[in-house]
């Protein structure tokens, strides 16, 4: 929570969307600010907004150019931002997620643990020690980013990309744990698998986890 929060900037993304950015680097304060701002927009969106999409450190707003224009919308957003105090985020729900760590489910667990100077069981214990916050979903259907681990669990991504990993794969890199909900290629370390799939396409909304929710990871029984 210590990194400085930059003044939010409003950047056009083509001629039908604006991006409100709370940072250019991934940090907890910027993420919390983006999540909080998206929630305020969900409650009271300015005229002409068609879609609100919170990201890791930004919020995308798609607008209808027949109902508003970017200059007017940016003005309304600036007003909302200036009136906002950095309020504590409303705590989200807590979800318990059991993970089958290592083995065939997590082929990179041993190397990730070793790179951090831990045994595999020490790594799992450290990984599960504290609940993680859902930073955002996106990137792929139901794909969820959770953070942040303490610095002692910070490991860069792998240098090569694995072909598709299945839904429910638990990924680890850059101080975060991510969970896939559809098969995707990945450059993150594959540390485990969960039966929890954060994507139910015939339900609306199609995801279960939301930004700001907490996840308590545990080791699934064998």
């Amino acid at each position: 929570m210590s990194e400085p929060l930059m003044l939010p900037t409003i950047v056009p993304l083509g001629d039908r969307a604006l991006l409100v950015r709370f940072g250019t680097n991934l940090g907890e304060r910027a993420n919390r600010a983006a999540v909080a701002f998206a929630r305020r927009l969900d409650d009271a969106a300015p005229e002409g907004i068609e879609e609100i999409d919170p990201n890791l450190v930004s919020v995308l707003l798609r607008y209808d150019p027949d109902r508003t224009d970017p200059a007017r919308l940016a003005g309304e957003l600036r007003l909302m931002l200036s009136l906002a105090e950095e309020e504590p985020e409303t705590p989200g729900r807590t979800h318990a997620i059991a993970v089958h760590f290592g083995g065939e489910d997590g082929p990179d667990l041993d190397t990730a643990a070793e790179a951090l100077g831990m045994s595999p069981s020490q790594f799992v214990a450290a990984h599960n020690a504290a609940p993680l916050r859902v930073l955002t979903t996106g990137f792929a259907p139901g794909f969820v980013y959770c953070g942040f681990h303490p610095k002692t669990l910070n490991l860069p991504r792998r240098t090569d990309v694995r072909g598709r990993v299945p839904a429910g794969t638990v990924l680890f890199a850059a101080g975060q744990t991510a969970i896939t909900a559809t098969p995707i290629p990945t450059g993150w370390h594959v540390i485990g698998r969960t039966d929890f799939i954060n994507f139910v396409p015939d339900q609306s909304p199609p995801t279960i986890l939301a930004e700001g929710d907490l996840i308590a990871f545990s080791e699934a029984g064998r």
Binding site: P12, G14, R16, L60, F139, G142
Partner: protein, 299 residues
């Protein structure tokens, strides 16, 4: 209530598309929808606004047999249309009888064409839309492209939607207009100049996710940039690590971590989508005000 069509020949990536699955970006789902929105709208207007979802087909066309009486309207790039071997006008609506054989053959320009019907295509609504997102295997015909032998069933007549507008995505030598992108300021001025000075070639690697561009000499690398992933919109031009630009299209990944130098304006994205491999494209930066005015003019 019965009726439908049987696909006799489907080129690659013929998919069912409606206007799109909007509002799902936060869950990780791009809107999809027609690659050439204006052509999809023209087909709807040809049916007096009473048009269902479309079958979007690619350059090689589509052959099908009508299994009952139905009105059909065709639009998109230039294709050659015939019914039972008899040539018909492209960009037209016509009445089909049970057993009619419709052949849509490749024409002189364009990558995408549309057929819409006076009946709704009876595939389930998924998250409010019938659009296929073939990248993630979602919606439309079981999330996949149509193949020979598929029977696409019809449901009720669609509701009167009113005219959907049109506009043309006809080919022209005019540059494709862009507004500078999210990361334009990270590119040195000389590189931005190079981006607009020389044309790129549309490569053969194009699909509903994106269109890769090529150039005799490669566009210089943007350097190693470590960017936090941000939302992506159709038309965003991202530069890969090896310097290859990709224009992201309707089935784009919802977020991207590569630097984006520019975004194709809404008014020009349809025309860009219809550019065939081997054709040259030049990008012309315009102001957001210009882009908005061009968008209004195109609607």
């Amino acid at each position: 209530m019965s009726g439908g069509i049987t696909v006799l020949r489907a080129g690659p990536l013929a998919t069912i598309q409606d206007a799109g699955r909007f509002g799902m970006l936060r869950y990780g789902i791009a809107a999809s929808g027609p690659m050439v929105r204006s052509a999809f709208a023209v087909a709807g207007t040809l049916l007096g606004g009473r048009a269902g979802a479309a079958i979007e087909f690619t350059r090689t066309g589509l052959d099908f047999r009508a299994e009952g009486e139905v009105e059909a309207a065709f639009s998109g790039g230039a294709f050659n249309l015939s019914v039972n071997g008899e040539a018909r006008d492209w960009n037209s609506a016509l009445q089909l009888a049970a057993g009619d054989l419709v052949r849509v053959a490749p024409g002189v320009w364009g990558n995408y064409g549309y057929v819409r019907f006076g009946r709704e295509i009876a595939v389930p609504l998924l998250l409010g839309s019938r659009a296929t997102n073939s990248t993630v295997g979602l919606g439309g015909f079981g999330g996949r492209a149509l193949v020979t032998g598929d029977r696409v069933p019809f449901g009720d007549a669609p509701e009167q939607g009113g005219a959907e507008g049109g506009g043309s995505a006809a080919p022209s030598d005019a540059p494709v207009r862009v507004v500078w992108g999210l990361h334009a300021d990270l590119f040195p001025g000389a590189m931005r100049q190079l981006f607009v000075d020389k044309p790129f070639e549309i490569s053969t690697r194009l699909d509903r996710m994106g269109v890769r561009l090529a150039r005799g000499e490669t566009f210089p690398q943007a350097g190693i940039l470590s960017l936090v992933s941000d939302a992506v919109v159709p038309g965003d031009i991202q530069i890969l690590g090896d310097g290859t630009p990709i224009v992201l299209m309707r089935d784009h990944q919802p977020t991207g971590g590569y630097p984006r130098i520019a975004t194709v304006i809404s008014a020009d994205l349809d025309r860009f989508a219809q550019m065939r491999p081997g054709s040259l494209v030049r990008f012309e930066p315009v102001t957001l005000t210009h882009a908005l005015a061009a968008g209004r003019a195109a609607r």
